[in-house]
């Protein structure tokens, strides 16, 4: 008994994943339609790279497709899926930090200076359309530490409440609140320095 696509649109996220657990592929496609933009936006703000964000979003959906049976009704689907996306982004970042970091000293052994340039450094043209302010805001987010960046994006970009953020990150609620506050302070400082210059 397969439901029509219109019926799947009326179902909640949790109902859709349950349908997908019963091998209904239409439910999965409905979940993709609902979450693809949100996830790409979140990952773009997290990584600072659109292509990378899309790749990571696709990887997160593939993980959802393969490990659908791991979902349980206890948690909200959005928090469970964001957890998958964050873990995917973290593992990818770790891999890139191992393999994409280039050392100039490898090419010039006589030179004592050791310059490290990240391979995924983006040119400023990428952010031309978003405006100069948005570009600098993104630059400031990228410069934040991992612990602050994660919670600030979930709270101020994705507009999640504190409890959801605590569930996604696995941190205590108080820690989430303090980290968000401290992250905002740091962002304000960074942006004020940028505007001064």
């Amino acid at each position: 008994m397969s439901l029509d696509n219109s019926i799947y649109k009326k179902l909640s996220d949790e109902e859709l994943i349950l349908e997908f657990q019963m091998e209904k592929v239409e439910a999965f496609s409905e979940l993709v339609i609902r979450y693809k933009d949100k996830l790409v936006n979140f990952l773009f703000r997290y990584t600072g790279n659109r292509d990378e964000a899309e790749d990571l979003a696709q990887d997160a959906f593939v993980k959802l497709y393969r490990s659908k049976h791991l979902y349980k009704e206890i948690a909200k689907f959005s928090t469970w899926f964001y957890t998958i996306a964050i873990n995917t982004a973290k593992t990818d970042a770790r891999k890139k930090s191992r393999y994409n970091a280039m050392s100039i000293s490898d090419y010039d052994p006589e030179n004592d200076k050791d310059y490290e340039i990240p391979a995924n450094a983006q040119p400023p043209d990428e952010y031309a359309n978003a405006g100069i302010e948005n570009y600098y805001i993104q630059k400031a987010i990228d410069s934040l530490e991992e612990s602050f960046k994660q919670v600030i994006i979930l709270r101020d970009v994705e507009d999640m409440d504190y409890e959801e953020i605590a569930q996604v990150t696995g941190l205590p609620l108080g820690t989430v609140k303090s980290r968000i506050n401290r992250g905002r302070e740091k962002l304000k400082k960074l942006l004020s320095e940028i505007y001064k210059t």
């Binding site: 790409v40 696709q58 990887d59 959906f61 948005n134 993104q138 600030i152 101020d156 506050n181 304000k188």
Partner: protein, 284 residues
């Protein structure tokens, strides 16, 4: 809420950031990735199900060259061990004392047989002659009993002294070669049996005859005859004792039945002789 009010401007700026949307090709790319993932999973299942056999690993296209020396060494070791195990049984067959004893016994038997075959012609002649004499004497007794004691004595003398063996010790005419060949062919055991039967028969007959003569005819028997008889008996006994002692030991068990039969026959013959003698004495 108090904390958020402190940095509300930052929150507003972050919330007003432009939302990045997924590309139009996002779904197709996702479908491709899902198909690839499924293919990988199916391939893993297939590879897990169909494991390569050891022969394919060793001799297939993807064989490991570093396995060659170790494989050849194992083959050689297996071959050497198998050869050692197969030949260890032969090497450990150390001849035991029983084997040596058996061989010695066999050699002794062969030597004795050879000696017997060399001695056989004379002995066999004697024995055959004796057997023939016994048969003739039995026939004579049955056909024509002796009328007088003298005739009886003569008859007994003729029986006791083998007709084929003279006083000079000259043997009877040799047995034809065909008989010897037949005896050799029939086997050693049969020869031994026959020899032993003959010897025992002779001895028993002689002893019984002497006893009968001594018991019944003490008064009238001439001493010279007795002496001659005793001499001939002693000679025969001396000759036969050696052979009997040797062969009795060898074939004591085998010939037990045959000896009992022969003694029974001898007793019957003696009884007949006694009866005939008594009859003659009564008639007189």
């Amino acid at each position: 809420m108090h904390e958020e009010e402190q940095h509300i401007d930052i929150r507003v700026k972050l919330l007003n950031l432009p939302k990045v949307k997924a590309s139009d090709d996002f779904m197709n790319a996702l479908q491709r990735k899902i198909n690839l993932a499924d293919a990988e999973v199916n391939q893993k299942k297939i590879t897990d199900d169909v494991k390569e056999s050891i022969w394919v690993k060793l001799f297939g296209k993807n064989r490991n060259p570093w396995l060659i020396p170790s494989l050849s060494l194992t083959i050689v070791v297996i071959f050497v061990v198998s050869v050692y195990i197969l030949n260890s049984g032969k090497l450990t067959e150390v001849p035991t004392m029983s084997d040596f004893q058996k061989k010695e016994k066999n050699q002794d038997i062969v030597m004795q047989d050879k000696q017997n075959t060399t001695e056989q012609p004379e002995e066999l002649n004697e024995k055959n002659g004796r057997i023939l004499n016994k048969q003739e004497s039995e026939k004579n007794l049955e056909k024509s009993p002796p009328a007088t004691e003298k005739e009886l004595y003569k008859h007994i003398e003729n029986q006791s002294v083998s007709p084929n063996v003279n006083n000079d010790g000259i043997g009877a005419p040799p047995v034809p070669k065909k008989m010897d060949d037949m005896r050799i062919e029939t086997g050693k055991s049969e020869q031994k049996k026959e020899d032993k039967i003959n010897q025992e028969f002779d001895n028993s007959v002689r002893e019984e005859k002497i006893d009968s003569k001594k018991g019944n005819l003490k008064a009238n028997e001439p001493k010279s005859i007795i002496k001659d008889e005793e001499k001939s008996e002693t000679k025969d006994n001396k000759e036969s004792k050696g052979l009997i002692d040797q062969k009795e030991k060898m074939t004591m068990k085998k010939s037990a039945k045959s000896t009992t039969d022969s003694t029974k026959i001898d007793k019957k013959v003696l009884e007949k002789i006694k009866e005939e003698l008594e009859k003659t004495l009564d008639e007189k």
